[in-house]
């Protein structure tokens, strides 16, 4: 073999297709017929209710190579993984395997609570193909990774469930295979077991010979030779990982955004009113658009240049007007302003921050002056015009300078007598963020252009005097923390656990579901009204949060205030919906940048009354 010869193929999948029946009963009837049929069926003749879920999928994995298939949930990744490992039978195409193939997947594969830990490790490794001569060594490694070596003879029913979480996954990882199919990339999680599993997975990925199915570009191994984008069972794009990853991120962003727009349209009842539906671009068109977008990601450089020119110039600088969500202000805009100050130093000419809600404290030390939007227009005008801005733009984020922004900027210039002031509008950061969320600008740009600093001025508590210690909470429902029985239970538990220890101030951002009637708390729970009643309501809410001994609330929005006021914070989420993952990544950076304050984010399903209580007790100590 010369150096130019390709490595031998371990796995060859050639135009594989798979048909599923959408209806269960009908599917069973077809299954019985197919089982008893002599010969194979033809996929070009679909029966009623059947659909092609995988269309002519082809991939080759060679010795030492890693190939990645990226696809959103429901795109067919798991089905292909099952086809390649023989769990399902392809309806068309050809699969050739050279050697042993393993499926790396978590779950509770074959788990039975009446087995001992060792017995289960034997079963799990054996299911994954461990030969008898290596089985004991594999099991020992599984117990070592999962930290269960000292509990090998204990029945699973007597081991805490959380300790069993990685048993199956670890079993899949340790069994020697020639080629592995990863249904998701293991890793993530802060506990030692998750880290050991992640390390073992990385070792496996470094060796190559892996086909990796993933719904996200996060956590992919560095040595990927080829990547593909799968959507609705069809390969939309393939190429090098460096090219495919940003295109996929852009694609996911566009698809989700289009779905959100469609949902909003339905909520508004547009369909009922006969308004034609917004034509959603085809996935192929979105991929094409993303490919073009890769060449146009110079926005980050332009923004840096714009900020540098304005800050280094002699004229006054207006920062704002900021009109959008509190959470975005604290996660993105204020840190960006702090970066400007840190990067370019203090200015002799004025720097005027313009925002709403009387939150001048947030810009103390960053700007020389603060002007509130409600100094320029009455509160009701602001609320109405801001709603119009959001409705017209289709998003709360300030990605463009609107007429309302211009009117406010004119008002600031007039008020301060600075007609030649340079404007650094929030659209600067949100346009870059948009590119980051599309995947056309690296996420590291944000970390490099943000300074997370606590708010220097700490306002007093809600009563502006000597108040007894209290804790704060703020809950509302959104796509990442949907209104469900479980989440309502969590709100109940949080308020209950908090109020048993200290009085609770609930900061209502405008969607608080209310204090559950079952909580017999007397005077222990007080609710601060939502913004909109007065122009300083946001400041009042900030005061309530800043004075608290601890804070628990829905991830995002006003909950983001708490860590900046050095208040131990626990934010919760239910689903990784919308831009949650992007915002959560920034929240982690904040937690790292503010070492003196505890800032945790947890999934609602991982929290119960006991864990909540333990967290509160810990931070109140």
């Amino acid at each position: 073999m010369t150096s130019a010869d390709p490595q031998p193929a371990l796995l060859e999948c050639d135009r594989v297709s798979k048909v599923f029946c959408a209806r269960f009963e009908q599917g069973r009837r077809y299954a019985l017929r197919d089982i008893l049929r002599i010969g194979s069926r033809r996929v070009d003749r679909l029966r009623a209710g059947e659909q092609l879920v995988i269309r002519s999928f082809s991939v080759v994995v060679r010795v030492g190579e890693n190939v990645v298939v990226l696809g959103m949930p429901g795109s067919g990744k798991t089905t292909i993984a099952k086809l390649l490992t023989g769990m399902l039978r392809p309806d068309d195409g050809r699969i050739r395997l050279r050697g042993r193939v393993g499926l790396i997947v978590g779950g509770r594969l074959g788990m039975n609570p009446f087995l001992t830990v060792w017995e289960y490790a034997q079963i799990a490794t054996s299911i994954h193909g461990a030969e008898p001569d290596v089985a004991d060594a594999c099991c020992e490694e599984v117990l070592e990774i999962t930290g269960l070596s000292d509990q090998r003879d204990i029945r699973l029913v007597d081991v805490p469930k959380s300790r069993l979480r990685y048993l199956s996954l670890a079993s899949a990882l340790v069994v020697p295979q020639d080629v592995r199919v990863f249904d998701g990339v293991p890793g993530g999680g802060d506990d030692p077991v998750a880290r050991r599993v992640g390390t073992r997975a990385r070792q496996t990925l470094e060796q190559g010979g892996n086909l990796i199915f993933s719904s996200t570009t996060a956590g992919l191994p560095p040595n990927v030779s080829h990547a593909m984008i799968l959507h609705d069972g069809e390969t939309l794009y393939e190429g090098s990982a460096e090219t495919v990853a940003p295109i996929y991120d852009h694609f996911v962003y566009r698809i989700r955004r289009a779905k959100r727009v469609e949902e909003r349209r339905r909520e508004r009842g547009a369909a009922i009113d006969g308004v034609p539906a917004v034509q959603m671009p085809s996935p192929a068109a979105l991929i094409k658009r993303a490919t073009r977008g890769l060449d146009r990601s110079k926005i980050a450089l332009l923004v840096e240049d714009r900020v540098a020119k304005a800050w280094r110039g002699d004229q006054p600088v207006i920062l704002g007007p900021y009109l959008s969500d509190v959470g975005l202000e604290l996660l993105y805009w204020r840190p960006f302003v702090a970066w400007m100050r840190d990067r370019f130093g203090p200015r002799s000419a004025p720097v005027v921050a313009v925002s709403r809600g009387r939150v001048g404290d947030w810009y103390a030390g960053l700007a020389s002056e603060y002007i509130d939007v409600c100094d320029l227009v009455p509160l009701d005008v602001f609320l109405r015009r801001n709603q119009e801005r959001i409705r017209d733009g289709g998003s709360g984020k300030q990605t463009v300078i609107t007429d309302f922004d211009r009117e406010l900027l004119d008002g600031v210039a007039q008020r301060l007598g600075m007609p030649d002031a340079a404007v650094l509008h929030p659209s600067l950061i949100f346009r870059v963020c948009s590119k980051i969320w599309h995947g056309t600008v690296p996420a590291s740009w944000l970390a490099e252009h943000a300074r997370y600093q606590p708010v220097a001025t700490l306002p007093a508590g809600p009563d502006d005097g000597d108040t007894e210690p209290y804790v704060a909470a703020s809950f509302w429902f959104n796509s990442a923390f949907p209104d469900s029985r479980r989440n309502r239970r969590l709100v109940h538990d949080a308020l209950s656990e908090l109020s048993r220890r200290l009085p609770v101030v609930v900061v209502d951002p405008g969607g608080f579901p209310g204090v559950p009637p079952s909580l017999d708390t007397g005077e222990r729970i007080r609710v601060v009204a939502p913004c909109g009643d007065t122009d300083d309501q946001l400041r009042e809410q900030a005061r309530a949060i800043a004075g608290a001994r601890a804070f628990i609330g829905t991830f995002g929005g006003i909950s983001m205030m708490a860590p900046f006021y050095n208040v131990p914070t626990l934010t919760v989420f239910g689903e990784e919906a919308g831009l949650f993952l992007q915002h959560a990544a920034v929240a982690r950076q904040i937690a790292g940048a503010l070492p003196d304050v505890r800032f945790d984010t947890m999934k609602a399903t991982d929290l119960d009354a006991a864990r909540l209580g333990a967290w509160i007790d810990q931070v109140l100590q």
Partner: protein
């Protein structure tokens, strides 16, 4: 349209792996089945024993053993029934085990053949207890084993294979429709009573014809004769029957491997 193919070359899971996996899955099933039973594994023996005792008593009273003495008939009927039970266990066991592994099949790369291996493990385990009962019956009836006794022992794997052949055929079907599982036990009395298992084979009449057409007559009755009475005139038919079941087993295995992924696909996810 290219032909469908799933080809493997190079190293592949060994037969030892299959046996080990089957043993582990049997263990898993066993632990689960008797998890809340105080008497535990005793139930595995008690059920067939309690089923056969009344049959022996009633059969003896009604003269099902022909000209056999009560002790001879007891040993005859018990041995026949236990061999039948081995056969029937082999039919049912793969389904019991497969039903409890449905989720595992949908979640991980479980070799389908392991279900048959685990079923065989369950049958062998039960056979140990049946053998103990059988030996006890020899002692109680003071019977001296005939010279053909070792042949009777050698027939056990064939009976097991015969049961597994039918059982393996039905496993994928029960994944799709439970009716096959519910319907299969209805077949049990028909098979049991149409073969001379707990009664002496009649010399003529309709029952003799029916006996002749039931393969269990050769699969069970002839080895049973080897165990308790000695050689028969039809011994060669056992070899024919064993060969047929061996071929059928290979065909069923081929069908089973092809059908299981389709059956798994039909399971609700």
């Amino acid at each position: 349209m290219s032909p469908v193919a799933y080809q493997r070359s190079g190293a592949r899971p060994s037969f030892r792996h299959l046996v080990t996996l089957g043993r582990l899955l049997f263990l898993r099933d066993f632990r689960f089945r008797y998890r809340q039973a105080f008497l535990g594994y005793l139930w595995a023996v008690a059920r067939p024993l309690m089923a056969v005792l009344p049959l022996i008593l009633v059969g003896s009273a009604f003269g099902l053993g022909g000209d056999m003495s009560t002790a001879e008939y007891a040993l005859f009927a018990l041995s026949g029934f236990l061999m039948w039970q081995v056969f029937w266990d082999a039919v049912i066991a793969p389904q019991w085990i497969a039903r409890r592994l449905r989720r595992t099949f949908t979640e991980g790369p479980l070799r389908p053949e392991a279900v048959i291996a685990a079923g065989a493990g369950l049958v062998l385990f039960n056979t140990m207890f049946y053998s103990a009962i059988f030996i006890a019956a020899y002692v109680i009836t003071r019977t001296v084993p005939p010279a053909t006794f070792p042949l009777g022992l050698l027939a056990f794997p064939v009976i097991l294979l015969g049961g597994l052949t039918i059982g393996a055929f039905f496993v994928p079907l029960t994944f799709v429709y439970l009716d096959f599982r519910f319907g299969l036990p209805l077949l049990s009395p028909a098979l049991l009573w149409t073969a001379p298992i707990i009664y002496a084979a009649p010399d003529g009449g309709l029952l003799a014809v029916v006996n002749r057409w039931n393969p269990l007559t050769y699969l069970i009755n002839i080895p049973r004769q080897w165990l308790v009475q000695g050689a028969t005139d039809d011994d060669a038919l056992f070899l024919v029957c064993a060969s047929v079941f061996a071929v059928l087993f290979l065909l069923t295995l081929r069908f089973f491997r092809r059908a299981m992924p389709m059956a798994v696909q039909s399971l609700p996810h």
